[in-house]
Symmetry: C2
């Protein structure tokens, strides 16, 4: 967003109109103030207009879904995809085996690949030439399967099949609510350690006796999925009921774990009200002070989207 937003018009708390609604890419005259509004959660001013860079829609889109034996191999498959598919790689999504098992179970559907596997990835390419892209994707899949990085894979043959493969990723959020509630975390973590958090969180809840198959346990399971290319993990804990004992196990454990690795406790969704007390896990005290100064400067009466992170 910081690279693709060309201009913003916003109304400041005192009624000043910040008119920075450029339609051109480059304007290197003074501070790029519009950036403060992107991710600013409306705490400085209200955005009233925006201009965004729109690339042409790609005529060629391919989707592959494949199964892997370990998180180590997920990383290898990703590195090869960056190398071989680079300019056409438009998505590389991770879904762990449990998300796919529950998806099949709750939806009563068949998965695109037979058997149970610990990890699945969905890969999408977007480009201008169908033949070229299909050939690149084929070469890639032959390579990763030949090297034993990927166990099994399937490529969508048309838009309907592509949408079905995508539904294995996009359907996760919905089905995780099946048992009652979900504790959700949206985290940036260095890619090498990203999945460790899922395992450690599961172990921790198991040790506390909070996780299990029957109603006496609040927690159903701990699952992980997300955007490998952005080092962005969605750690989700489907539960039968919200429970203080579970919350005490999860927090500040998750935040401390992420902070220790210089990650972010809110990668893409912002802090809002729920996560505002935790900003200190992702920002230093001096950074927070500099942010507060901006808030006080532009909104001294605190009337813009109040009670948020600042």
């Amino acid at each position: 967003m910081h690279g693709n937003v060309l201009g913003i018009e916003a109304v400041m708390p005192d009624g000043t109109i910040m008119n920075d609604l450029s339609k051109l890419r480059k304007n290197n005259t003074g501070y790029d103030l519009k950036q403060l509004f992107i991710g600013g959660e409306g705490t400085i001013g209200i955005i009233t207009a925006i201009s965004i860079l729109c690339p042409q829609r790609s005529p060629a889109v391919n989707v592959a879904y494949f199964a892997l034996d370990s998180y180590e191999k997920v990383q290898q498959a990703f590195i090869e995809a960056k190398k071989q598919l680079s300019e056409i790689l438009s998505a590389f999504e991770l879904m762990d085996g449990k998300t796919q098992k529950y998806l099949a179970q709750v939806k009563g559907r068949k998965l695109p690949i037979e058997g149970e596997h610990p990890f699945y990835c969905l890969l999408e390419t977007s480009g201008s030439n169908t033949d070229h892209d299909s050939e690149k994707l084929q070469t890639y899949l032959e390579h990763v399967m030949g090297e034993g990085i990927v166990e099994d894979g399937v490529v969508g043959q048309d838009a309907t099949q592509n949408a079905d493969l995508w539904s294995c990723r996009e359907g996760i959020t919905e089905i995780l609510g099946h048992w009652g509630g979900v504790y959700k975390y949206d985290l940036s973590i260095p890619i090498g350690e990203m999945y460790d958090l899922v395992n450690e969180t599961r172990d921790k809840l198991a040790k506390a006796g909070l996780i299990g198959d029957d109603d006496s346990h609040p927690v159903v399971d701990v699952v992980g999925y997300g955007h490998v290319g952005d080092s962005n993990l969605h750690l989700n804990i489907p539960t039968r009921r919200f429970d203080k004992a579970v919350e005490k196990e999860l927090e500040p454990f998750v935040y401390e774990w992420v902070a220790k690795r210089n990650g972010s406790i809110s990668a893409e969704h912002g802090l809002g009200i729920t996560k505002k007390p935790y900003i200190g896990y992702s920002r230093s005290e001096s950074m927070i002070k500099l942010m507060k100064q901006i808030k006080e400067l532009y909104d001294p009466k605190g009337i813009m989207n109040p009670y948020k992170y600042i």
Copy 2:
């Protein structure tokens, strides 16, 4: 830069260290303060460390250089390139006929294409597969030549030839100083009107009797080149000597012309000292006020890179 810089560490005027040196892509916790330092010309703090997203170097690079009859056709060739080469298009540069004529003359070199043409473009592709990219480029060139958009063209056969084609673009800045000095403008202008400014500036200087072949005229010529993909024109006026009469013709004419089209008077090079009085042509009064408030907030004593735009 606003999209590719992942983190910045900077020292503020009061000694505070702004530590925002993330190595991850996403961190949506609070204002993205590092953005103020990008293009801020050191007026808030001194950047002491930076982390930047580095894509893999493309194994396949192709360069084409071609001649066109009109600026209208330059735009058509560009639209086709965005459509057909989209994900591998890494440069689309404009050089007008005069820049190439003077390049040949001053350097005593042959141009890649015979004859004189009003416009030239340099196009570069960067991708992961040489065969695919060459095929796309070939198809593109056949299309634009078949449609009469491009008059003549040449494609580099190896890295040496590619470098030679690039030198026809990159050599311009140097050779324009040949006669003494150059008035330089770095402007964002909507692509449709971009080249009009070159013609209008030349007409204006001609009407004032300031442009000509011999020493009695200060101005040698008015030329234009730049980055079509960014709507970024480099308007250059090579002169035999700096002359107040020329300056009076150029300014505020150029700035007013750009402001009328909501362009930028400094697309990529910043304002520095020379252009600081002209910020008002690219930023509204309320924007400048908001910028001044930031400067006063973080650098109340005005000790960071003083005498610049704020």
